[in-house]
Symmetry: C3
């Protein structure tokens, strides 16, 4: 493990201003509640001011407006959370798996591997896959044939990339089965610096490719349908589903368990709240929300019953509206 | 790869009518946007008429009413999307994995395998499993003991079939823990021509079997509880959950991230919209929907606050209703 | 398989009172619909009274108030379902996998295994993992480094424990990408008698540990974020997402596809209904619900349109409210 570093050394590397003893020696990061000797923590919200008072951390990272809330040695930075992330990267490697291909992995001889790639136990990598430099597949990842991954891509266990999209045609054209399968002949391309959480699935394209651009971060158990495009630096939280051919812009965030309809377009800088179903295109940046506010069960039951009568009541009352 | 075929040869095999040069040679299918030399595409919706004007495809499949929208060589068919699916199957195999059992798969000696079966790397197939002719398990599928698969079943990577259902009894009968586990001694039976998407789970029955009938198509990350029955030719989109002992009819479609309560019955030809929770039985065919319409965050916040007062307001106003 | 046992022997072991012939010989449990010769079933709800009349089971477990509904040999017990669970455990082992480490599993030499542990084919167990006595990993489970499992823990196929949590900091502090990864250096600790369903994911902590206490039962495809705590004897149904740092109490139940926001606290004995998003802390026991009641599509469309106008309508009417 790298380090230790003094506060002064940290600030020399990462910027920020030291208040208190710059010789304070730091060996690791820790949480406000549990950090102890030799550990640096961060303070981000006045909600946790009581915890700041009690912390046994050796030093704290905080914003200028909070500088006077503690007498501990501290680093003052405009964006304490991002600063903390960089400090943690000083002490900890982001990827923890050894380089090379594990002997139990099954890698097609036609695969092109960059330098510094790590492929964990039980991975299966299909024909003509390309994996860029310094990328890491944790154990039990499957890459179907022809998937293309950029550099520094991190893929967690259980991820499946390039399985067939859900392409079926209604035999009689009435939108129901029997079904005819449409062979899925597109691929998947994943940009540099993408991270993909455990048990997430990204389908190959039906005809053209599914595309995840550089810097996109995807949490666990996300489902990304065929021919989806996710623009650079977007983030997708856990349990999200993105249906086929949706086009998500750049710098978008999608909250947990949100659901994006297929064949719609979402503009750059849109933020979708958790639990929200986006059913049509969004052309303007902003935050969009749509989940049913929970209540005690009986109150919900009464409200939901009225909600189901709303169309009727209101149309009757239209003349007054 | 099979082919090439002329438009005339394609129509001779699959029906439809050729307009333009029947000698047009086709090597592959492609999308309206990207198809090029030697590729045939399809046109399905007037929304994409501009793209049809610009396509560089060699030929187009379209409906009679759209025949005059292009001068390209074309095949006129009543159900262009289904026709396209069949054309794609001419040029592409639906299953892309080699026959036989991969050397890294762990297959119990008691398993009965049909002819033409393909079992990918890292699969684990338990005792007394039966797999019908021409079925394919992509890498890293797990079939627990006694699972029974029909013919031409395709199972994508990461699928788990036959894990224990969520069978727990409340020790004190108050509907909360501590819990007593109920051994799950039923099985799973899967009919012919079923396809199951990546990382989907289908639990074994508690006492009797879980049953997926022929021709059912299931997308990725679907959860199917113990003793569920899904009738023939139904389709289940990604991220759907179907709770234990639900009985789904035939020719049903269930949209992405919909949720079906346990112990209810859904009639044939029902269509459940994406994001909808079905909380009681449905005895009539039709389309059923229930998701919160999203809005800009502030508008949602105001509406949701009123929604939570609806039961109170309306019951006060009942005398007027 | 253990048994057979007479009704008398069963009652001598498990309590309850026999009505009818105590020499009735039982070999296995079965459902009301399909149990036959030598099988015992249970009756739990008057809804199924017709089935009780027709059952061909050899004996029935039922509550005192239902004792006279059948003339079959029977065991009368206060909590028939829990009693049935125990009877089934007499005849069936809850865990069906052989002891020992399968030859295809990849287990770090630094792992500490208890007695009677079973590790299935294709499992990957990282450095410094601890697995308590009599625990079972079904095939293709991944435990990242330093995960700690108690005794009698059952983990189904496809589960990933200890993957990185979704810890990213917004580089410019505006809540959107580019993102800086925060190394995830906490662990996961899982108590005794926990069961975890297929393809569920439990992330390692960011700084401190993720914690699942004893007796917790988790269904399939559940996502549990970093630093979540789930209190003893809680149960989490399929497709649930629990966002990072949520604190769930003991004896809590969470229905299928419910979603719990991050950084909130849920009191002991809370019951969250299926499909409900819990967006703030719950300090009182009780049942909480919040899903949109489904309807026929056109009715839903009309109601949803009015719902989106509710804030506007009501604020205009405020003077009357």
């Amino acid at each position: 493990m790298p380090g230790p570093f003094t506060l002064g050394q940290i600030a020399a590397r990462l910027g920020g201003r030291v208040a208190g003893d710059p010789q304070t020696l730091i060996r690791q990061v820790g949480s406000l509640e549990r950090a102890g000797d030799g550990q640096i923590t961060f303070f981000n919200s006045k909600k946790h001011q009581a915890k700041l008072g009690e912390t046994r951390a050796a030093a704290v990272i905080l914003a200028p407006e909070n500088e006077q809330l503690t007498r501990l040695p501290r680093i003052v930075a405009d964006n304490p959370y991002a600063y903390f992330a960089r400090v943690s990267q000083l002490f900890n490697t982001a990827v923890t798996q050894a380089l090379g291909v594990h002997s139990s992995a099954v890698v097609s001889p036609t695969v092109k591997l960059g330098k510094g790639v790590s492929i964990g136990a039980g991975c299966v990598v299909g024909d003509d896959v390309v994996i860029g430099d310094d990328s890491c597949l944790y154990p039990r990842v499957v890459l179907y044939a022809k998937s293309i991954l950029g550099k520094r891509v991190v893929v967690h266990s259980g991820v499946v990339i390039g399985a067939d999209g859900f392409g079926i045609a209604s035999e009689d054209g009435r939108g129901e089965g029997p079904w005819i399968k449409i062979p899925q002949i597109g691929g998947v391309r994943i940009g540099d610096d993408v991270e993909i959480g455990a048990n997430t699935t990204i389908d190959r394209g039906a005809l053209d490719d599914t595309l995840i651009e550089e810097g996109v971060k995807i949490d666990n158990q996300v489902q990304i349908g065929h021919n989806v495009r996710i623009g650079a630096h977007s983030a997708v939280a856990g349990c999200v589903g993105i249906a086929g051919s949706a086009e998500i812009g750049s710098h978008v965030t999608i909250g947990g368990a949100a659901m994006i309809h297929g064949h719609i377009t979402i503009a750059d800088h849109v933020h979708v709240s958790a639990g929200t179903l986006i059913s049509r295109s969004l052309t303007k940046p902003g935050t969009y929300t749509g989940f049913y506010p929970f209540d005690e069960h009986e109150a919900w039951r009464r409200n939901a019953a009225q909600l189901r009568r709303l169309g009727r009541i209101k149309s009757r009352g239209k003349k007054d509206g």
